[in-house]
């Protein structure tokens, strides 16, 4: 059995306890923390730190962001071989943020770590499966773009400590970094470094990285989708293609908008991978492993179909088809019907919200440029003013407005990366959820068709009996047998899909709740930080204003 959960790496815990709230990110705080006292019995797999900035490396950035992942849902996939037999355990991290937003602003920490912990349990082992209940909600680290706030303290509850004693933990961190432009002109492309750090035995190494390009990610999606969507899994959709964005990059336009585009894409690719590996069945897929590990991947072809509009069209076609179906399903479907309706409503809602957040981002950017212009104008006014105290105050005001512009800029960045992208991701994820429901309907439809074919065969047999044509009877009987077994096969399939979809929905909903909460917390923290800076600005200005005489 495979479980995955969320956990703060103990290095962070350690560093926050020893480094006095300094960011675990900013390198150099105890990379190899001693294991927790309770865990002394555990194996060295409790090697949960975040990698140092890598050998081939990045301007001091930490490259690991964890996959924020999944709440604990026992998946009952009996066919997956029980490779591992350890018990699972987990840590709940209650991260308490120091509301001391006065850290140095210059740090540009793009990543905070969180790790995905993949824990494997054996369904038969002492029925511990049930214990892993919904607890993952508390974790709240991950990316804090452009922010200074760091989680500081972690506490554990009694249950967690108990759990920890019981088993090993495995984890998997993924980061996508170092976008590099390869080639020139229209054939150029961006190559991204995909780094993995893991304690999972199924991988060859503990730490490794490969370079991948965007079409590789799309290719991965295609492969996963082909295999797993039929089972009713919710497959995370990949980021969208963007002709405009990429063209600018290819053409070599070195401006802030193409840099922004690359960053947006890099972050989206990272989130995509994190969601994939957080899904228990997907992680087991050899294609995923290959994607992460193998040095050279064969070029993915046919990714046109998966470009943004293409994918959307596919999803919409599927939902149209469903709407046209006049299927009367049995009553257990009330759950499915109402869930689907919920999903559709939520998708609409999120679309609206996303549009509003988008508008907000644009207005803030506009505000930034207007503020800069205003600041300069005030400075000029100050220089003309005869009264010297007023003149000084006016130039101070110009500086304050300048600082405000920076704050607005940061805020816009937060708005975008924390909120807008979250909403966009979920609009697409909800589309994937709908696909999943549609998949189930397709299976049901196949069952229906088989049942009606069986019925026809039986009728044919009856006719033959009546018409007394013994030579064709055998054929008819064979047909009936064939279709009977098909029907029972399809019935089993339908059962299985139904079960999977339900589970997937539950997992998805938990994940969504956690994800949203986390992002809101992050966003509020960024707002908090902005407000602190604002207060400082105006507090410095006030005496100057009062000094006017």
């Amino acid at each position: 059995m495979f479980l995955s959960r969320l956990r703060l790496p103990s290095s962070e815990i350690q560093s926050t306890l020893t480094c006095n709230g300094q960011s675990a990110m900013s390198g150099g705080c105890g990379r190899n923390p001693p294991p927790f006292p309770d865990n002394e019995d555990q194996e060295a797999e409790l090697d949960t730190q975040v990698l140092d900035s890598d050998d081939d490396d990045d301007e001091g950035e930490d490259i690991f962001t964890g996959a924020r992942s999944k709440p604990i849902t026992p998946t009952s996939a009996p066919d997956e071989g029980d490779i591992f037999s350890e018990e699972g355990s987990y840590v709940r991290s209650d991260v308490h943020h120091a509301t001391n937003g006065l850290h140095s602003d210059e740090e540009l920490d793009l990543f905070t770590e969180a790790t995905v912990e993949l824990t494997l349990t054996n369904t038969t082992s002492q029925g511990r499966r049930e214990i892993i209940g919904p607890t993952a909600s508390a974790c709240n680290t991950t990316r804090v773009p452009n922010s200074i706030l760091k989680p500081s303290i972690v506490t554990k509850t009694m249950e967690e400590l108990e759990e920890e004693e019981s088993g090993d933990q495995f984890e998997l961190n993924i980061a996508v970094t170092n976008p590099e432009k390869i080639g020139d002109g229209m054939n150029a492309y961006m190559s991204y470094k995909v780094s993995t750090q893991t304690t999972l035995p199924m991988f060859l190494n503990k730490t490794f990285s490969v370079r991948r390009r965007f079409s590789d990610f799309l290719g991965l999606y295609e492969k996963i989708s082909a295999k797993h969507s039929l089972l009713g899994c919710i497959i995370p959709p990949p980021p969208q293609k963007s002709v405009v964005g990429m063209t600018k990059v290819k053409v070599g336009k070195e401006d802030s908008s193409s840099a922004e585009f690359v960053e947006k894409r890099r972050a989206a690719l990272e989130r995509y991978l994190q969601r994939v590996v957080a899904h228990p069945s997907l992680l087991q897929d050899p294609d995923v492993r290959e994607f992460l590990e193998r040095d050279e991947l064969p070029r993915a072809v046919n990714t046109q179909a998966l470009s943004g509009p293409g994918l959307l069209k596919m999803i919409n076609r599927a939902s149209d088809a469903v709407n046209k179906m006049t299927i009367k399903m049995n009553e257990s479907d009330n759950w499915f019907e109402s869930k689907l309706q919920e999903v559709e409503n939520e998708e609409q809602l999120l679309r609206r919200l996303h549009a509003a957040v988008d508008s907000l981002v644009n207005h803030r950017k506009e505000l930034c440029s207007n503020t800069v212009v205003f600041s300069k104008s005030v400075a000029m006014l100050g220089s003309v003013e005869e009264n010297s105290a007023l003149s000084r105050a006016l130039s101070q005001l110009a500086e304050v407005e300048d600082k405000m512009e920076q704050l607005h800029q940061q805020q816009a960045f937060s708005d975008f990366f924390i909120l807008a992208e979250l909403l966009a991701d979920y609009v697409r994820l909800l589309g994937a959820v709908r696909c999943c429901f549609e998949q189930r309907m397709k299976v049901w439809q196949r069952l229906q068709e088989a049942q009606s074919t069986l019925q026809k065969k039986r009728e044919a047999e009856a006719k033959l009996l009546w018409a007394n044509k013994p030579e064709k009877l055998q054929q008819a009987k064979d047909d009936i047998n064939e279709w009977e077994s098909k029907v029972s096969q399809y019935e089993r399939d339908f059962e299985r899909v139904t079960c999977t979809v339900r589970k997937e929905m539950l997992r998805f909903e938990k994940e969504k709740a956690r994800d949203f909460k986390q992002h809101i917390v992050k966003y509020l923290e960024s707002l908090l930080h902005t407000q602190h800076r604002l207060v400082k600005c105006w507090e410095a200005f006030l005496p100057e204003a009062k000094a006017i005489a």
């Binding site: 919200l353 509003a356 907000l360 505000l367 104008s377 105006w538 006030l542």
Partner: protein, 385 residues
Amino acid sequence: SDALSNNEHLSSPRAVNVDLQTDATLQVDISDALSERDKVKFTVHTKSTLPNFKQNEFSVVRQHEEFIWLHDSFVENEEYAGYIIPPSPPRPDFDASREKLQKLGEGEGSMTKEEFTKMKQELEAEYLAIFKKTVAMHEVFLCRVAAHPVLRKDLNFHVFLEYNQDLSVRGKNKKEKLEDFFKNVVKSADGVLVAGVKDVDDFFEHEKTFLLEYHNRVKDSSAKSDRMIRSHKSAADDINRIASTHSPLPLLFSNSQKIEARVAADEDLKLADLLKYYLRESQAAKDLLYRRGRALVDYENANKALDKARAKNKDVLQAETTQQVCCQKFEKISESAKQELIDFKTRRVAAFRKNLVELAELELKHAKGNLQLLQSCLGVLKGDT
């Protein structure tokens, strides 16, 4: 349907933009205001111990056009050429607000009742803020007049304050507006000419240069502050929209959005209005300098004419009279102009101080309030697992 109930009343004294001395002999304020469909009716309330008035305390209702009439009568009065005429209040403009409300009304179908109510409340608050502002501007104008030693005695002013019927002042018709336009063109051309004449008096020469540059800078800052504040308001509207949507982003924007909108409004009141006001004041000061410059040029021309007349010994008396008139006019203006310009400086510094201090204090108050709100939201979210 006009979502605004169109009858907003306002009945308390508001903070006045500029520091003015009020004394018991004449106190003017706008005690009430009513916003109707297309116009605003101001209740002008006067308290006075002056013998000119029939009663000691009385009120009349006036509309914007009547304020303009009063202002224009000052400008056109030669006696007041040597004073800075307080700038007229801007026309009440609720168009933007009305438009937003209308859009909201149109979009009513696409949102829940709750969302609609919330947004409507926000827009109504905005409307109210604009309304308060226009009332303040009209009041400031009257107070400036009442505080001015000479203008307060003006007959038209007393009629304005006391006459409880409609002044039957209509707005200018097209022909008159066209005339005005040409007059302005001529005046600006003349202004350039006059400004080109170097003044013997250092004080005025300096003021001329200073005011020209100052006026241009204030104009620039005013325009840019308007734009900045518009973006800020748009962002606040977006936040409002997000907050009003019943959404999976709870607590996110619920109250902080109101604060953000309010910050934008306060910046508006303090900074932008200040700049706008001084844009108009500096223009009025420039107008004064223009009138003086014009008088100076007239005086110098009269001198030249007199010399010529004396030389030709023709129409000397006439030339002498003209010259004397010009001289008197010029000297009268110069005398008062100097004091007016010094007062202007003092007023300006005081107004900037007051508004900048208030701006900083408001920003701090809101930022701190916002901080508390955010901290408590975060507390709830994090504590709730």
